[in-house]
C-alpha cells in the first residue's frame, strides 16, 4: 500500500513540483497551501507522514504541528525550513516532529526520512495493537484467559 503523505507549504509551485516528484516515486500525495487547510484535511483523512513548512502565513508550521499532535498524535511530521537554524529544528523536535530538512532539500534524503517516519508510525501502531490485545487477554472477564 502506498504511503499517504500530506505536503504543506504556502509556495504553490514548490508544492506542485515536489508532489509530482514524490508521486512518480510511488507515494500517495495530497497537498495543502496552509496550516488551516492541512488541519481540515487531517480531520477527515489519515496520513502516515506530513511534510510541513515552518514559515507560512496564518497558522505557521510550529503551531500547525502542535495542533496535529493534539488530535493525530501518531501522525509523523517532517519539518521543512528555509532557515538553517538549530533552534527551529529543536523546537519542532520538542513538539514531536520526527525530523527536519533545510530547503532546498535533496529528494533522496527526504524519501529516506519519509520512509523512516512511516516505519516509526507503523511500529508505534503495532505496539498499541499488541498492548490492547494483551489488555483484553489479561482482563478478568476475558474468555481467552486460561483457567
Amino acid at each position: 500500500m502506498k504511503t499517504r503523505i500530506l505536503l504543506v507549504d504556502d509556495e504553490e509551485q514548490f508544492v506542485q513540483a515536489l508532489s509530482e516528484r514524490l508521486t512518480l516515486r510511488g507515494y500517495d500525495v495530497t497537498t495543502s497551501l496552509s496550516g488551516e487547510d492541512a488541519l481540515e484535511k487531517l480531520k477527515h483523512y489519515n496520513y502516515e507522514v506530513v511534510i510541513l513548512d515552518i514559515a507560512m502565513p496564518g497558522l505557521d508550521g510550529v503551531t500547525t504541528l502542535r495542533e496535529i499532535k493534539k488530535f493525530k498524535p501518531l501522525t509523523e511530521v517532517i519539518m521543512l525550513t528555509g532557515h538553517a537554524t538549530v533552534e527551529t529544528a529543536i523546537e519542532g523536535m520538542k513538539l514531536g516532529a520526527a525530523d527536519y530538512l533545510v530547503k532546498p532539500c535533496d529528494t533522496e534524503e527526504l524519501m529516506a526520512k519519509i520512509n523512516k517516519a512511516h516505519q516509526k508510525k507503523a511500529g508505534t501502531e503495532e505496539r498499541i495493537r499488541e498492548a490492547k490485545v494483551k489488555d483484553i487477554i489479561s482482563s478478568p472477564r476475558s474468555v481467552l484467559k486460561k483457567k
Binding site: Q13, L18, P57, H83, C105
Partner: protein
C-alpha cells in the same frame, strides 16, 4: 544630538540583520522551487531513457518555471544589493519614491506572512531629499511594521508620497486604533533616535486612519 549614536547603531545592526534574514529566506524559497523543477526535468529525462513517452510541453513548462524563479531571485538580489549600498554614504540625495518602492518590496514577505497587502500610490512627480538613506529606510521599515499591525479589516496599507513646499510627507493609510496609547508604543528609543537623526516628525490622524511622517525637504546636518 540627544540620542547617542549607539542607539542608532545597535538598532541599525538589528534592522540590517532582520532584512538579511528575510531576504535569504525569500531566496531559499526560489531556490527550492528551482531545485524541484530541475529534479522533475531529471526524472522525465530518466523516463525518456527507459523508453517511456514524455510530454515535451511538460518539459518546456518545467524549464519555464525555473526561468520564472531565476527572475524572481534576481529581483530579490537586486533589491538586496540596493539595500546593502544604502550604508555607503552618511548623506546623499535620495529619490523618495524609489526608496519607498524598495522598502515595500523588502517588506513584501513580512506583509504576506501577516496577510497584509502593501500598496504604493505612484507619486505625481519626483521627490528628492538629502539625508542618511539607511536611517530613512530604517524609519520607513518601523512605520511599515507598525502599520501592518494596525491595519483595518481589509488588511491593506497604502503609502502615499506628497510634497508641500519644502516638506515631504509619507502617509500610511488604512490604519485603525491610532489613539495616544498606541502611538506611545510606537515611540521606541530607536524610532525617536531615527526621527531626530533625519529631522523627521510623525503625526497620526485617527479619524482618517493615517500615520504621517514629515521629512524636511532640505539638508539636515547629522549630529546637530
Amino acid at each position: 544630538m540627544k540620542y547617542a549614536w549607539d542607539t542608532l547603531g545597535e538598532a541599525g545592526f538589528q534592522f540590517f540583520g532582520k532584512m538579511s534574514a528575510s531576504i535569504s529566506h525569500e531566496i531559499k524559497n526560489a531556490l527550492a522551487i528551482m531545485n524541484e523543477n530541475a529534479g522533475l526535468l531529471e526524472d522525465y529525462a530518466s523516463m525518456g531513457e527507459k523508453g517511456i513517452s514524455v510530454d515535451l510541453q511538460r518539459l518546456k513548462s518545467l524549464a519555464g518555471n525555473v526561468r520564472i524563479q531565476i527572475q524572481r531571485a534576481d529581483e530579490i538580489v537586486r533589491n538586496m544589493n540596493r539595500f546593502a549600498h544604502s550604508v555607503d554614504r552618511s548623506e546623499n540625495a535620495i529619490e523618495v519614491g524609489e526608496l519607498l518602492a524598495l522598502m515595500t518590496a523588502l517588506a513584501h514577505r513580512s506583509a504576506t506572512m501577516q496577510g497584509v497587502t502593501l500598496k504604493l500610490k505612484p507619486p505625481q512627480k519626483l521627490v528628492t531629499i538629502t539625508t542618511n538613506q539607511f536611517f530613512l529606510e530604517h524609519l520607513i521599515w518601523l512605520f511599515l511594521e507598525f502599520s501592518m499591525d494596525k491595519t483595518g479589516c481589509d488588511k491593506i496599507v497604502e503609502l502615499i508620497l506628497e510634497k508641500e513646499g519644502s516638506a515631504v510627507r509619507i502617509i500610511f493609510t488604512g490604519l485603525i486604533g491610532l489613539q495616544p496609547p498606541t502611538m506611545d508604543s510606537f515611540q521606541t528609543d530607536a524610532a525617536k533616535a531615527l526621527l531626530e537623526a533625519i529631522g523627521a516628525k510623525v503625526s497620526a490622524d485617527s479619524g482618517k486612519g493615517e500615520l504621517v511622517v514629515t521629512l524636511s525637504g532640505g539638508e539636515k546636518p547629522l549630529g546637530s
